[in-house]
């Protein structure tokens, strides 16, 4: 379902809460020219790092690649294009895509190298930078448990970007540890309503 050249979002922070199985499959199928939108890129050869080691990546949009030194190396050799976005702006821009907000203002990065070429505007005497929503073709997210409808709940800090990315892509594939019957999850505790989830994949 992921074509060469696709923009894909992948949940996770470090090695917590990323869809291990889906990433393995993506690495195994070898589809290339990908734009990967994620917090970081795991470690060299580990997690999302595999996609870079495999040369499947054309561009990265994210915020922290120092855990995987292969990223700066590939970037400075000109093999991949990297767009750094402050982490809070990154999270908010993904949510914005999910909720139909094309752009918003934030104070983060004003005046810095990361705001270069971005529009700014004053509100109440303070300067803010205009940030655009970040969409994807496919989101690969990791949740702890789903019901058969696709409602999702998460575990601890494995939640991170997953609920946001689930909203922000044309197609959302959720990897889960467990699928339970409809009605088993507490309606007050569902974090991602099934409206945002297209496909469930259970780890075995």
């Amino acid at each position: 379902m992921i074509r060469p050249g696709a923009r894909i979002m992948v949940g996770g922070f470090g090695l917590a809460g990323y869809p291990e199985l889906l990433v393995e499959n993506l690495a195994a199928c070898g589809v290339g020219d990908l734009t990967v939108i994620s917090n970081d890129l795991g470690s060299p050869g580990v997690g999302l790092g595999k996609l870079l080691t495999n040369k499947q990546i054309r561009a990265l949009i994210g915020n922290y690649y120092n855990w995987n030194p292969e990223v700066p190396e590939a970037c400075f050799r000109g093999e991949i294009e990297v767009t750094l976005v402050p982490q809070g702006t990154f999270a908010e821009a993904i949510r914005a895509a999910g909720v139909g907000i094309p752009a918003f203002y934030t104070a983060a990065s004003v005046g810095t190298d990361l705001a270069r070429d971005k529009e700014t505007k004053e509100f109440d005497g303070k300067t803010f930078v205009l940030e655009r929503a970040i969409h994807a073709d496919v989101a690969l997210v990791k949740a702890h448990r789903a019901d058969e409808l696709g409602n999702l709940v998460y575990t601890k800090t494995a939640r991170n970007f997953n609920p946001l990315m689930a909203m922000a892509a044309t197609l959302t594939i959720a990897e889960v540890d467990d699928i339970v019957p409809v009605g088993s999850l507490d309606p007050e505790c569902i974090v991602t309503p099934h409206i945002f989830v297209d496909i469930l994949v259970r780890r075995d």
Binding site: A16, P69, A91, A108, T112, N160
Partner: protein
């Protein structure tokens, strides 16, 4: 180069001094701690109503996890396994940075490569081609109510980190409120650096020599407790 306070002792002194700052505010607070010395601050806080927020989606971060406590799905923003404190809760990254950007986090403690005399902070990148990451630093310095810089006074090779004007890429302009090093405590007042405390080992002259930034000396200058 003369070592006034050995590195390990310096780090502990800085962390302890920052912790005391929060303990003394005598009110419940939520703080966010960066990697390195800032993370050490948690170990010295005595009050039980100071709650640690991790920007990867947790309020109520406990001590680092050891042995069987380690859970790969429970980490802080530095990817270290941590524990929970009672009443902790989890949320997504947009809500987490909502807390930060929205001014709900009382203080952030961050390390820095340079801070200048106007309080501008450089801590996200050394343009050497080997680094590529900003993390939440820009959101934190612009969003948290109080920005405390916790760093050693000089670089390993003795260069000043408190400078007239940052030469490294800026994380946030005029955002620092307080700077704690092993040699001194500064506040930023009206965009001017004010020396509030000085370490017992050194004279004011020595401090001036080790500090490129210009600062004014508080009328009520104290000796830093070590």
């Amino acid at each position: 180069m003369q070592v006034i306070v050995p590195a390990e002792e310096a780090k502990v002194r800085i962390a302890r001094r920052v912790a005391r700052e929060f303990d003394e505010q005598k009110r419940s607070m939520v703080i966010n701690l960066g990697v390195g010395i800032p993370t050490m601050v948690a170990g010295y806080i005595e009050r039980h109503d100071i709650y640690i927020q991790a920007e990867n989606g947790m309020l109520g971060v406990g001590p680092l996890a050891v042995g069987k406590e380690v859970n790969r799905q429970l980490i802080n923003a530095g990817r270290q396994p941590v524990t929970e404190t009672p009443g902790c809760c989890y949320f997504d990254s947009a809500t987490s940075f909502g807390m930060i950007r929205g001014g709900h986090v009382d203080a952030t403690v961050i390390g820095a490569l340079q801070v200048d005399q106007e309080g501008s902070i450089a801590n996200w990148i050394i343009p050497n081609g080997r680094q590529l990451g900003v993390g939440g630093a820009m959101d934190l310095v612009s969003g948290a109510r109080q920005v405390v810089v916790a760093m050693q006074h000089n670089t390993r090779d003795g260069k000043p980190k408190l400078v007239k004007s940052c030469t490294l890429p800026i994380t946030g302009f005029c955002e620092a409120d307080m700077i704690v090093t092993e040699l001194a405590v500064f506040h930023l007042g009206g965009s001017r650096l004010v020396l509030k405390e000085i370490a017992p080992e050194i004279s004011l002259d020595t401090l001036v020599r080790l500090t490129e930034a210009e600062f004014i000396v508080c009328a009520n200058l104290k000796t830093m407790s070590v």
